[in-house]
C-alpha cells in the first residue's frame, strides 16, 4: 500500500456537498408520487452529477451527462409520462424483513470494500498508474490529437465505439418497431381499446 494522503482542499468540500445533494435528490425522487416531479428531479440529478464530473476534471463525461442525462432523457421521460398516468399508484406500506436484511448486508459489504480502495487522487492507484498513464504518454506519438479522451474513444477503442453506435441504432429500431410505422394497422392513429370492453 502506498502512503498517499488525500490532499484536503476547499474543492473537496464542494465535491462532498454535491454528493450530499445527489443523495437528497435521490430520496426526494423515492418519496414523490407525482411523476412530473420525479422526471424533473431526475433532470436535476443529472445536472448535479455533471457538476460533480466537472469538479473531478472529467469534462467530456460532464458534457455528455448534461446533454444526454439532463437534456434529452428528461424530454423523453416527459414524452413517456404523457402516455401514462400522472400519478404513481399508492403503495401499501408493509414490512419485508428478508429484503431489508439483504439490502443491509450488501450495503455493509460495499462499505467494507471501500476500505481497500486507493485514496482519492492517489497517483499510484491502478487506474492512474498502468494503462491510464500509457494512454497519456503514447497519445502524442500514436494519434497526435490534443484531446486524449477523443483519441481513446475514436481510435484506440474505435471498435468499442462502433458497438456503442450500434446499440443506439438498435434502440431507435426497437422504438420504431414497438411504437411506430410499419405496423399491421398501417401507422394510422387508432385509439387503444379500454380494458373493460
Amino acid at each position: 500500500m502506498s502512503s498517499f494522503q488525500t490532499h484536503i482542499s476547499p474543492l473537496l468540500f464542494l465535491d462532498l456537498s454535491l454528493l450530499t445533494m445527489l443523495v437528497l435528490v435521490a430520496f426526494a425522487m423515492l418519496r414523490s408520487r407525482q411523476l412530473f416531479a420525479v422526471v424533473m428531479l431526475s433532470g436535476i440529478y443529472s445536472l448535479l452529477s455533471a457538476a460533480f464530473f466537472v469538479s473531478l476534471d472529467a469534462v467530456d463525461v460532464a458534457f455528455t451527462e448534461a446533454a444526454v442525462g439532463a437534456g434529452v432523457s428528461t424530454v423523453l421521460m416527459l414524452g413517456g409520462m404523457l402516455l401514462t398516468a400522472r400519478r404513481e399508484k399508492p403503495v401499501t406500506p408493509g414490512r419485508a424483513p428478508v429484503a431489508l436484511a439483504v439490502v443491509l448486508a450488501t450495503g455493509a459489504a460495499l462499505i467494507y470494500a471501500t476500505i481497500d480502495m486507493p485514496a482519492f487522487g492517489d497517483p499510484h492507484s491502478p487506474a492512474n498508474s498502468s494503462i491510464g498513464q500509457m494512454y497519456v504518454d503514447e497519445t502524442p506519438n500514436d494519434i497526435a490529437v490534443p484531446n486524449i479522451v477523443t483519441a481513446v474513444l475514436a481510435s484506440y477503442r474505435g471498435f468499442d465505439t462502433l458497438g456503442e453506435t450500434m446499440v443506439i441504432f438498435t434502440a431507435g429500431v426497437a422504438v420504431i418497431l414497438l411504437l411506430g410505422i410499419g405496423s399491421v394497422r398501417g401507422g394510422r392513429r387508432i385509439a387503444d381499446r379500454d380494458e373493460d370492453e
Binding site: 423523453l76 474513444l153 462502433l162 453506435t165 443506439i168 441504432f169 392513429r189
Partner: protein
C-alpha cells in the same frame, strides 16, 4: 398570437444551437465533445422547435423517413470507414492506413473526423426518432392536464 415570446425566442435560438452542435462535432479532437454530444445537441434544436410549434410542423421540416435513412447512413459511415482502412491494407479502423506517408498522423485525424461524423448522424437521428414516436402518439394536451 399564442405563446409569441416562446416562438420568437425559439426562432432566434435555433440556428445558434445547430452551429454549436457543429462546433462540438468538429472540435472534438481539441476540446471536450465529439459525435455523441453533438448529435444530442443537434436533436435538441428540433425538440425545442417541436415544443414550440407543434410536432406536425417539425415533421414537415425533418420528416421521419429522412431520419430512418440518416440512422442507417451514420452507422454505415462508421463501419464503412473501418472497411475502407482494411481495403487500404490496414486493420479494421486502423486510420494510419488512410495516409501512411504522413509524419504527423494525418490519417488518424481524418479517421477520427469520419467516424465521429457517423456517430453524430446516428445519435441525432435516433434521438429524434425516439422523440417523434413517443410524443406523436398523444394529441396535444391542455394546460390544465398537467
Amino acid at each position: 398570437m399564442e405563446r409569441l415570446i416562446l416562438k420568437v425566442t425559439t426562432k432566434i435560438l435555433f440556428a445558434p444551437i445547430i452551429l454549436f452542435a457543429l462546433y462540438v462535432q468538429f472540435h472534438g479532437d481539441y476540446g471536450p465533445g465529439g459525435g455523441f454530444q453533438a448529435g444530442v445537441i443537434f436533436a435538441v434544436a428540433f425538440i425545442l422547435h417541436a415544443f414550440c410549434f407543434g410536432l406536425d410542423e417539425t415533421k414537415k421540416a425533418l420528416p421521419q423517413k429522412a431520419l430512418i435513412v440518416a440512422m442507417v447512413i451514420g452507422l454505415m459511415f462508421y463501419a464503412g470507414t473501418g472497411v475502407a482502412t482494411m481495403l487500404l491494407g490496414g486493420n479494421l479502423l486502423g486510420y494510419d492506413a488512410i495516409d501512411p506517408a504522413s509524419t504527423h498522423h494525418a490519417g488518424q485525424h481524418y479517421g477520427i473526423l469520419l467516424v465521429e461524423w457517423g456517430v453524430g448522424v446516428t445519435v441525432a437521428s435516433t434521438m429524434l426518432t425516439i422523440f417523434y414516436h413517443f410524443t406523436g402518439r398523444e394529441p396535444d394536451i391542455d394546460q390544465e392536464d398537467w
